[in-house]
């Protein structure tokens, strides 16, 4: 299809603004833009059709099963969207006086209260805009805490080799050196390796639990203890909280700081890559360092407290992706105390059920009960017929399913990482298993066909090498 620029015709457009109703003032020439202002010019009909066509060339949770491991592509409830669209939320200026924004402040207050209870943390903020942003914020809390104690020599953050790439990247941005520790044969933290890694230069440990293999680390209390005894702090990456929400709390596992992805566990939509929403929580010892402003309460009235001298400052403007938090709060109010643990229960059940079905043919990377996701290794298949994890993933696209996460975690060869989430029905899982098992047979019978997949999408496999070698990153106007 055409780019919107290719659909543009000079002189077309929509009539959005009235004529100016005050005397016009001309901008002095020396400040004025010289370059032509080239933007699309389309009638509203053509505009609308363009974006309809783009949507049809994409795939969302509403379009079908979306078992993208580690991304928790659960259903995004429609009531959440309606509440986030209330003018009483959308029309509020972030710098309105607090007495005119009590509703917004109450949203932040309630979300903090509920999520602290869910995670076992003492305080929580919502300023970070996404998971990685939350990791970074959490690491700065750790850094500020050490510095406040005059301890500047702790320069290392320990990260397991199964971690998301954001973990080491966030730690590096926070000025830390990364110590990668290999996973044990069971896919979990190797306690001996950890013991060797810690020391008086250890600022902390970042851990996702359950980890990216979908395994809950049974030694979690020893792990956090080892770090604490070495003088470090423990950061919980909440990417996989969906597996344990209402069942186990990071705060009870010994973690000092956590981040949550509201767009994973708390059902806010992913928006094609964002906006997400993050919460960063911590134990009270770290609370003085949290970003400002903080929501505070006095005489039953909420206000924003900027007077936190030990705060790390701000990681973005204002108070976070507020309308995302409205969605998460709506979700929490809907689920309540009984509903929250059911999320974890059914997420873990769905993963184990699907894994059991697939194990008939596929090799599971770690053949033990999983949590909310599991990892297949297609190394055997590749060895026997040359069909790769990539081939299987691309073939799934032709079956109206989104592929799983491919080639991650890095420690599993030919990995496919599958996370069904709790909002999928048994029939959807049965159909997916059937399709994947058929693909397995097809791979053995006709590997060539698998290399050609997808065949029913608007493009075949794109040339990514060419894209990176000769980057074309914008439309080039003729003139």
């Amino acid at each position: 299809m055409n780019l919107i620029f290719e659909e543009s015709r000079a002189g077309r457009g929509c009539t959005i603004l009235p004529a100016c109703d005050v005397p016009e003032t001309a901008l002095p020439q020396q400040f004025a833009r010289k370059a032509p202002l080239r933007l699309p010019q389309l009638s509203e009909n053509d505009l609308s059709r363009h974006y309809s066509a783009l949507a049809k060339r994409s795939f969302g949770v509403n379009d079908g099963f979306y078992p993208l491991g580690s991304c928790t592509m659960k259903y995004n409830p429609k009531i959440n969207e309606e509440m986030a669209a209330l003018p009483g939320f959308t029309e509020i200026h972030p710098l309105q006086p607090a007495h005119t924004a009590q509703g917004c402040l109450k949203v932040l207050h309630l979300a903090e209260k509920f999520l602290c209870e869910i995670t076992g943390m003492d305080e929580m903020v919502f300023q970070p805009a996404a998971g990685a942003h939350g990791e970074y914020t959490g690491l700065l809390l750790i850094k500020a805490w050490h510095h406040s104690r005059g301890d500047q020599k702790r320069t290392k953050i320990i990260v397991p080799d199964s971690a998301h790439g954001t973990n080491p990247a966030s730690a590096a941005m926070a000025g830390y050196t990364i110590v990668n520790i290999p996973s044990g044969p069971d896919g979990c933290v190797d306690l001996e390796a950890l013991k060797k890694a810690v020391g008086d230069d250890t600022a902390g440990l970042m851990l996702t639990n359950p980890n990216t293999l979908g395994l809950f680390d049974k030694n979690i209390l020893q792990i956090t203890q080892i770090v604490h005894e070495a003088g470090g702090l423990c950061f919980y990456d909440g990417a996989n909280l969906n597996a344990v929400v209402g069942v186990a709390r990071p705060g009870d596992m010994g973690f000092d700081v956590i981040h949550l992805n509201l767009h994973k566990t708390f059902s806010t939509p992913h928006g094609g890559g964002g906006p997400g929403g993050a919460a960063v929580g911590c134990k009270s010892s770290l609370a003085p360092f949290l970003p400002v402003p903080r929501v505070a309460e006095h005489d039953g009235k909420f206000y924003l407290d900027d007077n936190r001298p030990q705060s790390i400052g701000s990681v973005k403007s204002f108070y976070g992706n507020f309308l995302v938090i409205v969605r998460a709060l709506t979700y929490l109010l809907t689920l309540g105390k009984e509903g929250v643990p059911q999320v974890a229960e059914n997420a873990v059940l769905n993963a184990n059920y699907l894994m059991a079905l697939l194990k008939k043919r596929y090799q599971v990377a770690y053949d033990v009960p999983c949590m909310h996701e599991f990892v297949l290794s297609l190394q055997d298949l590749k060895d026997s017929c040359g069909v790769t994890a990539m081939d299987v993933a691309k073939s799934m696209q032709d079956l109206e399913m989104h592929p799983p996460t491919m080639y991650f975690p890095l420690i599993v060869h030919e990995a496919l990482m599958i996370e069904p989430t709790e909002t999928e029905s048994k029939e959807t899982l049965d159909r997916a298993a059937e399709a994947l098992l058929e693909l397995y047979e097809k791979a053995l019978a006709n590997p060539e066909a698998m290399h050609r997949a997808p065949e029913r999408r608007v493009i075949g496999r794109p040339d990514e090498v060419e894209a990176a070698r000769h980057p074309v990153v914008k439309y080039e106007y003729d003139s």
Partner: protein, 441 residues
């Protein structure tokens, strides 16, 4: 209690058994008893949809929606066309993930490619990323882009938004680098101070300038940029996006990186977010740009195809060696900006900018004529300006009673006003009358 779980208890039983478990308890056997929660969470009872709607609507009604807004300071009330709201509500756009799987995500990839093009056109830059979290974050990320060996200190105009300065400082704390404020004088960045500061510092990585600045002033960006360049520092401009329609582009001012807060492009005020950080740069810095970038290529059959490209910059490939940790961005907000720009078109966007300019100047004249509300600065401004105010609290309370959100109180006792295309003449005239009243009381 609401629930989004499809399975009935009977189905769950069946599935448990098929997976080899006899209870939910068995499912969680990996979790040591000692960290298992042995009680229900202390949360309220779950609610039905009807109750949730009632409760959230009640909370929303504890806010006051001001019919008339004369406050900006980083968050602006512009007109949002119906097409923007409706098009971006498409469920597929809303619920898709980052387009890692190119073949099934061409629509979203193309929308990002189009967004990148529009940002480049507006800024005059050669490369744009797919968005970062917001304007302050974009500024901090841009500063990080410019760090190079010994050059690590970030110079920031004191006439920048306080949140931007604070965010840059926080990121500098992370990176163990220094931030140096360049003083403001009479509403504009002090060029000679900048020159003095930079001349003495060989560690200067970059200079960040907000345009128009926090006080609304249109800075002499090209001249300031030259000072930075002369000292071997990179020049970053943080631009109000609406103003880009009429002001000299960052490219024309010599900037190396252009960033800004994209909220005015179709995003509601929303108590501060989600907003949109846009970032664009010269080609030379392309491989230092953080975040997603979509590139054009082709498939086997020669069809035009779009992919996430230059991924070697990113955290999921490069891990601790990545220049940024960004993963989720503000994709739907970037789409919103694209739809906004396509709906407004060049004429509409220019009209919005010109009306902001004309109306702000009309308002400045009206307000400035009220005794006690004189303009603080004599500088050229875009759609924000600062006036004195004899009694801030009384004035703002009076305006509030009339449904008007007045200018933002500044630490020095002035008010920072903002006027956009949404403010009708009658509102401005009424504002001036009310200020007269406030003054006379």
């Amino acid at each position: 209690m609401g629930s989004y779980i499809p399975s009935t208890p009977e189905e769950q039983k069946e599935m448990l058994s098929a997976a080899g478990f006899d209870s939910f308890n068995g499912l969680f056997s990996q979790i040591p008893e000692s960290v298992r929660l042995s009680r229900l969470l202390d949360l309220p009872q779950g609610l039905s949809e009807l109750e949730v709607r009632r409760k959230m609507t009640a909370i929303a009604s504890e806010n006051k929606v001001f019919p008339t807004v004369f406050r900006g300071a980083g968050a602006y009330r512009h007109y949002i066309p119906a097409a923007v709201t409706r098009i971006t509500a498409n469920e597929t756009f809303l619920t898709a993930y980052t387009p890692y799987q190119a073949e099934i995500s061409q629509g979203i990839l193309q929308s990002i490619f189009e967004y990148q093009t529009m940002i480049c056109e507006l800024t005059g830059m050669e490369v744009s990323n797919a968005s970062v979290y917001d304007g302050a974050n974009a500024a901090a990320e841009a500063a990080a882009m410019c760090r190079d060996r010994g050059r690590t200190t970030v110079y920031v105009s004191a006439a920048s938004h306080p949140d931007t300065i604070r965010t840059i400082r926080t990121y500098a704390f992370g990176a163990d680098t220094q931030v140096c404020l360049v003083p403001e004088k009479d509403g504009a960045t002090d060029a000679s101070a900048l020159k003095d500061l930079l001349e003495q510092d060989k560690t200067a990585a970059c200079f960040f300038l907000q345009q128009p600045n926090y006080f609304g002033t249109i800075e002499d960006a090209a001249a300031l940029g030259e000072i930075a360049h002369a000292a071997g520092a990179k020049f970053i401009m943080g631009c109000n996006p609406i103003s880009l329609a009429v002001l000299k582009t960052p490219a024309e001012c010599g900037a190396d990186v252009a960033v800004g807060e994209g909220q005015p492009f179709g995003m509601p005020l929303g108590f501060g977010g989600p907003y949109l950080g846009f970032m664009a740069c010269k080609k030379a810095m392309m491989r230092r740009l953080p975040g997603r970038i979509v590139g054009q290529t082709s498939d086997d059959a020669g069809n035009r195809a779009f992919v996430l490209t230059l991924q070697a910059r990113e955290q999921h490939i490069r891990r601790e060696k990545a220049l940024s940790n960004i993963c989720s961005n503000e994709a739907l907000c970037a789409l919103t900006a694209s739809v906004y720009l396509s709906t407004m078109g060049p004429d509409g966007l220019r009209a919005a900018a010109e009306q902001c300019y004309s109306k702000a100047h009309y308002a400045a004249k009206k307000i400035g004529a009220v005794k006690g509300f004189e303009l603080k600065n004599q500088t050229e401004f875009f759609h924000e300006f600062v006036t004195a105010c004899p009694n801030v609290q009384k004035t703002l309370e009076l305006l509030e009673r009339h449904g008007i959100l007045g200018g933002l109180p500044l630490p020095d006792g002035g008010l920072l006003w903002c006027v956009t295309e949404c403010n009708f003449k009658e509102e401005i005239d009424r504002l001036a009358e009310l200020l007269e009243e406030a003054e006379q009381e």
